[in-house]
């Protein structure tokens, strides 16, 4: 008897119009456990080498973990993966909400889409009933409208996943949306779904998930909730959500501003968590079984109308707000809504718009090419560019492939301020004085994504020491214009980066949110015990789970080596802006990362990982992790 898993893989070949339900592979469960482990294994094994990310041979994979959907805190995470159109390498993204849980209740731990539907379609799943249905009535519609139409047609209990117009146009940073405001945003997986002519997936699941020890799991689940409530960090992040760190990022000189030209702005108080509470918020919103709901649902009011929107989260405040010089919280929230409706990742969307604004400012994109006179901090300009991108109209068609490819077409010195790694746009932490964070971004398998590694706090501790009262906020508000934060030392960052890079996948594998561990401090023995009651198997968090995390890093590196021509060390370099231009203002004024430091950090990192000097896992390393890959 199989416990903790629904027990099945759903395979849908859209070209052949075939639907198959097969037992979940024992090898996957034994060696890769779930979620991000499954997707790493499936993408490497099943995507033919050299596949076009937007071609029919690419796989769109949905995977849940063994703890997904069970009675324990925040067990509602779903993992999506495909070969990325943004990077040409391994791509994935993670989402909360209720979609994956419902897929598991319908009987499926893993769903794999291949091929391309003959016409715009959506996938209907109601337990064993799985159908590919016409979706011409949904094509061209925004995310909210699609969810409303399908829920009204099928039933409110159906959970909906959808792409917007950007996914239909195969914009390389198109996201997928769910639950009126939740997104799996990164690596362009929405474009992959669009390339398959799939507008949406609707699912209802009413089955139980068999567990090894139901009474034990219920008891341990209650104890885990109680343990969460008793932790000092329990109440901290619900009031403002992730937006609560906006001022902190500004104070420590990490807030991307004006396309990462600098790392500090003078209007952070207008676009922070308090501004959301004062101006936008209607209610908190949480994912499945979450004890600390961090989502904020609110109403954005601008000259463009009133729009209900979930967010903005910190990343959106940073990349749509300060990075585009948008200093009004309603305007930022409106752009958030536009991105959600069009199905554009707000991280890459904000980064691409800010790149376009700088190109326009420097004359690399003419007014004729742009189609209007666009300005920093102007809501109309930002929405205009995003709509052009979603429709792939004019300059939007160039920008729709992301900043790396756009810079290759635009030319001039635009590649120096195209802020990305491997083709994926950098997210909300300017890192010229954060060497650990920078190394984390540089070496992430999917490109510059903060959720692969987040050590910014340790970088700041490294820079300011134990008890230095840098008092940055006061100094800046009093008009200080000098470097306040000392240069951070890069010598000892590799162990911290590796630790973070191994910890974070653990929760993506199990199917839970990481915040209960990262913020609340829920001890690892809870995860080990919950896993045992769910599956009947022993799991040592540190020995087994973190080792699997490390194995996945090697496997995804090999996927990138196989799929990206000339892949290696040069794909790990940050954009030239970060090593050529000192930060011009704010608490980190004057700091940049020297290129020699970048090389030194990579040398140390590769050696610690067991990779050669070009960043490729050695034969010994692959054998050590029982990876028979080339």
């Amino acid at each position: 008897m199989l416990y903790g898993y629904a027990g099945h893989t759903l395979r849908i070949d859209l070209s052949r119009d075939t639907i198959e339900k097969e037992p979940l592979k024992q090898e996957w469960m034994d060696d890769f456990i779930g979620g991000r482990g499954f997707t790493a294994k499936i993408l490497y094994d099943e995507i033919p080498a050299g596949t076009d990310p937007l071609g029919p041979d690419n796989r769109f994979v949905i995977a849940m973990g063994p703890l997904s959907g069970l009675f324990l805190p925040a067990a509602g995470k779903t993992h999506f993966a495909a070969k990325s159109p943004a990077t040409g390498g391994y791509g994935d993204s993670n989402m909360g909400g209720h979609f994956g849980v419902t897929m598991k209740y319908a009987g499926y731990d893993v769903t794999i889409l291949t091929g391309r539907a003959k016409e715009p379609s959506y996938i209907f799943i109601d337990n064993d009933t799985v159908e590919i249905r016409p979706a011409s009535h949904l094509w061209g519609k925004g995310s909210t409208a699609v969810e409303e139409i399908l829920k009204n047609d099928l039933g409110q209990e159906f959970q909906i996943l959808t792409i917007g117009e950007a996914g239909e146009s195969m914009v390389h940073f198109a996201c997928i949306s769910h639950d009126f405001g939740r997104q799996a945003g990164r690596t362009g997986i929405g474009a992959v779904l669009g390339s398959k002519n799939i507008k949406a997936i609707a699912v209802r699941g009413t089955r139980d998930i068999p567990v090894f020890d139901p009474k034990g799991l219920l008891k341990k689940g209650k104890q885990t909730y109680a343990a969460c409530r008793e932790k000092p960090g329990f109440k901290g992040w619900t009031p403002e959500g992730t937006a609560g760190i906006t001022n902190w990022c500004n104070d420590v000189g990490a807030l991307p501003t004006r396309n990462f030209a600098t790392s500090h702005c003078d209007y952070a108080d207008k676009i922070n968590g308090k501004a959301i509470l004062d101006e936008l918020k209607i209610t908190d919103k949480g994912c499945f079984s979450c004890p600390i709901p961090c989502g904020k649902y609110g109403l954005a009011k601008t000259g463009k109308g009133n729009k209900y929107v979930e967010g903005p989260e910190y990343e959106t405040l940073a990349l749509v707000g300060s990075n585009c010089e948008l200093s009004d919280i309603h305007a930022v929230a409106h752009v958030n809504w536009v991105c959600d409706e069009l199905g554009i990742d707000t991280c890459s969307g904000g980064a691409v718009v800010s790149f376009a604004l700088e190109c326009y400012e420097k004359g690399l994109i003419s007014k004729e090419e742009m189609g209007m006179d666009v300005k920093w901090g102007d809501l109309d300009s930002i929405v205009y560019i995003l709509e052009k991108i979603a429709k792939r109209e004019g300059i939007g068609d160039v920008l729709a492939d992301g900043v790396k490819k756009a810079a290759e077409k635009i030319g001039g010195d635009s590649s120096k301020f195209a802020i990305h790694v491997k083709g994926l746009e950098w997210t909300g932490y300017e890192s010229r004085n954060a060497p650990g964070m920078m190394l984390g971004y540089m070496t992430a398998d999917i490109g510059a994504h903060h959720n692969r590694c987040w050590v910014l706090g340790s970088d700041v501790a490294n820079a300011v020491g134990g008890n230095q009262d840098a008092n940055v906020h006061d100094l800046i508000s009093q008009g200080a214009d000098f470097s306040v934060i000392p240069k951070a030392d890069h010598k000892n960052v590799v162990p911290l980066v590796l630790k973070s890079q191994h910890l974070r996948p653990a929760f993506d594998i199990l199917g839970t949110c990481r915040l209960q561990y990262m913020e609340i401090g829920l001890e690892t023995h809870y995860y080990e015990e919950l896993y045992y009651h769910a599956t009947g198997k022993k799991l040592d968090f540190n020995k087994d789970l973190l080792k699997l995390s490390e194995k996945i890093w090697h496997l995804n590196r090999m996927f990138n080596k196989r799929e990206i021509p000339d892949f290696g060390r040069k794909y790990d370099y940050p954009p030239p802006r970060f090593y050529e231009e000192p930060i011009p203002s704010g608490p980190n004024k004057g700091h940049k990362v020297e290129f020699s430091v970048i090389e030194e950090m990579l040398d140390t990192y590769y050696k610690a990982r067991g990779w050669d000097e070009n960043g490729i896992p050695t034969k010994d390393t692959l054998e050590k992790f029982n990876l028979a890959v080339e």
Binding site: K231, P232, G233, K235, G236, W237, P239, E240, G241, T242, A243, G244, I245, N247, W248, C249, D251, V252, C294, E313, Y314, E315, L317, A318, T427, G428, H450, N451, W454, V455, L456, G457, S458, V460, A461, N462, V464, G465, G466, N467, Q468, D469, A470, N471, V472, I485, L496, K499, L515, Y517, M518, E519, I520, G521
Partner: protein, 82 residues
Amino acid sequence: MITITLNMSESLLSILRDAGRPGQPTRRIRVEAGTLVRQVLIDQGISPLLVPLIFLDSRKVSVDTPLQTNGVLTLHGPLAGG
């Protein structure tokens, strides 16, 4: 003198651990009435730059808040955005 129960979130404790200065999730300290939160942090060896969120008896406060009576001071470290 007043008694302050000083709580620290895991996100802060983990940064302090990595910096070689492990702390306790909860401890009690005695300070003069009127002491600023900022001074408490410095006395504990914690840079105010590492503490983006501070709650005094469940109410959000700034580092410049004076501690006047016995209470619970909860310090939250930074955390990645969504």
